[in-house]
Symmetry: C2
Subunit: 333 residues, 2 copies
Amino acid sequence: MIKRVTIYDVAREADVSLATVSRVINGSGVVKNPTRKKVEEVIARLGYRPNAIAQGLALRKTTTIGLVVSEASFSHTGQIINGILDVSKIYNYNIMLHSVTDGIVDVSEIIDAIIKSGVDGAVIYSDKILEADMDILRKYQVPIVVIGNKISGDSLCSVYVDIEKAVYELVSKYLSEGKEDIAIIEDRRNEYISKQMVEGAKKAFKNHNLEFKNFIEIPSAYRSSYKFLVNYFAENKHQMVIANRDSQAMAILNSARENAIDVPNDMEIVCVMDTKYNTIVRPNISSFSIPSYDLGAVSMRILTKMLQNEELEEKEKCLSYLYNPRQTTKNNY
Amino acid sequence: MIKRVTIYDVAREADVSLATVSRVINGSGVVKNPTRKKVEEVIARLGYRPNAIAQGLALRKTTTIGLVVSEASFSHTGQIINGILDVSKIYNYNIMLHSVTDGIVDVSEIIDAIIKSGVDGAVIYSDKILEADMDILRKYQVPIVVIGNKISGDSLCSVYVDIEKAVYELVSKYLSEGKEDIAIIEDRRNEYISKQMVEGAKKAFKNHNLEFKNFIEIPSAYRSSYKFLVNYFAENKHQMVIANRDSQAMAILNSARENAIDVPNDMEIVCVMDTKYNTIVRPNISSFSIPSYDLGAVSMRILTKMLQNEELEEKEKCLSYLYNPRQTTKNNY
DNA sequence: CTGAAAGCGCTAACAC
DNA sequence: GTGTTAGCGCTTTCAG
């Protein structure tokens, strides 16, 4: 950021005042047409670009929003980011990206960076940021939209998919068909979702006067759940198993095949997150489709509304999922 | 960004001057210990955080770097982003994320945003940003690191993997075994890589006095290459085919299975990008492993060096790949 | 319709 | 050691 052409240069060159230049670049106030033309010509000639930092200082807003994610490499997260990026472009916001990587960064540093950078708002998609952290942000007047958790508050909204309900409905269906040996696989990378899945199952079981107990936790000794699952399903079998991530569902599928368990006839599999891999793998994996891109896009849209004090119809926006029965389940419903 | 506690508040409360406060928060200059203590106490009590925007203005640098990617949802891109994020945390840089999505954003807007935001530097991983665009950035003194293309210049470095060489070696190996029916699948989303792959193959063929001609282009009518490939391999077969993305390799695998083509005995498949899905799918897909995370991490590291005028051992950094023969190829070498 | 001037919050000479 | 002050580049009253 060495010497660049500034508004002074433009003003001098066009023989007008700073104020006038400022008016033409912002379209604020009235400027006579010839004056405007002249200024615009100089701007073009000099290749002047307003310095957003200085604007930020003067206006006390940055048209930048902070985005916090846990892990950028999941396809689901990528989609969310894409959604946010696309909408933010439309409303001319910049995105400051932060990630909560265990070990390298701790949450307090991120909070710090967010506050210092003076973002106008933030979108958070991460289990790792807790209520307490968000309190700090709110103290600094940062409007926040949370993705994935149903939560709201003064300057806090959320966009989520009701996973609990999804699982509840699915499990209920199976129970009413008399299939009671249903298991849910933990997703250590998404504790919150795992919890919701279990809640949904519990409710469904309770309705049938049964108790849900097949929550399969991944022992922490395993670096990847994949390894564990391949072992587990070499020795265990359920009528139906629900996993969160595609790779988990695939692990189950693989070990089923290796152990001559027929999917879907001996064991059915449903995956919560829907990614393209679910339809690439054979058999195609039945799954809910969680609208990742929309989660991102909608949350960004809501944030823009908050920032412009527009009316919000609801602070907790629930996006609907679709159930896509494919080849790992027996009944299409 | 409403009224926040400023350096003035701290100075007044601690009964010292701005300069002193500035000195303690920056660790610059010398401050007597009791004074320092007092200031630190006030800072803590008031919850003061320096405003990075104002700092940016005063210092004419932002400790923010711009990151441009084509598409955030590929696992490969996600890994690159993770690498960049981790390193940027270490050196205390913020990341401003931009994506070049066809239709929604055009490149000139991104260039504009980057310049206006006054980033200290930029990392670009996108085929869509051309030389001409980078020239503009350089005119504005933005040091740039490009990922994926071998390129360099005044304030321009790059980090890449020599895909051409990888393919050259692989193809040479096959040719020397007398396997000449080798095909390469176009990846429309990564034209540059496709081009390199073809170059590598051409050279290898030329060495054997042969001509490479099986570059399979995906007709633009197809929204996804997956569909096309399933059709193509229902009617065609090669001794060996090389694809770039995992989903393409899987498409080939699927249609091979459906058409009773035995992989690897009737047809071998190699994928360039290595993702976890390559080892999840059965048979496991042989592939090169392109160190995505490292591409990101190294490029960010180089950028920090450029920004601090540290010595750079090379402006075009080539990262090495590994070849992982798995179950879609016959020979392990 | 346009210009002058006072900040926005912070840093960095330069004094004291 | 610590305080004073002049910017950094821009916006926005308030006069004219």
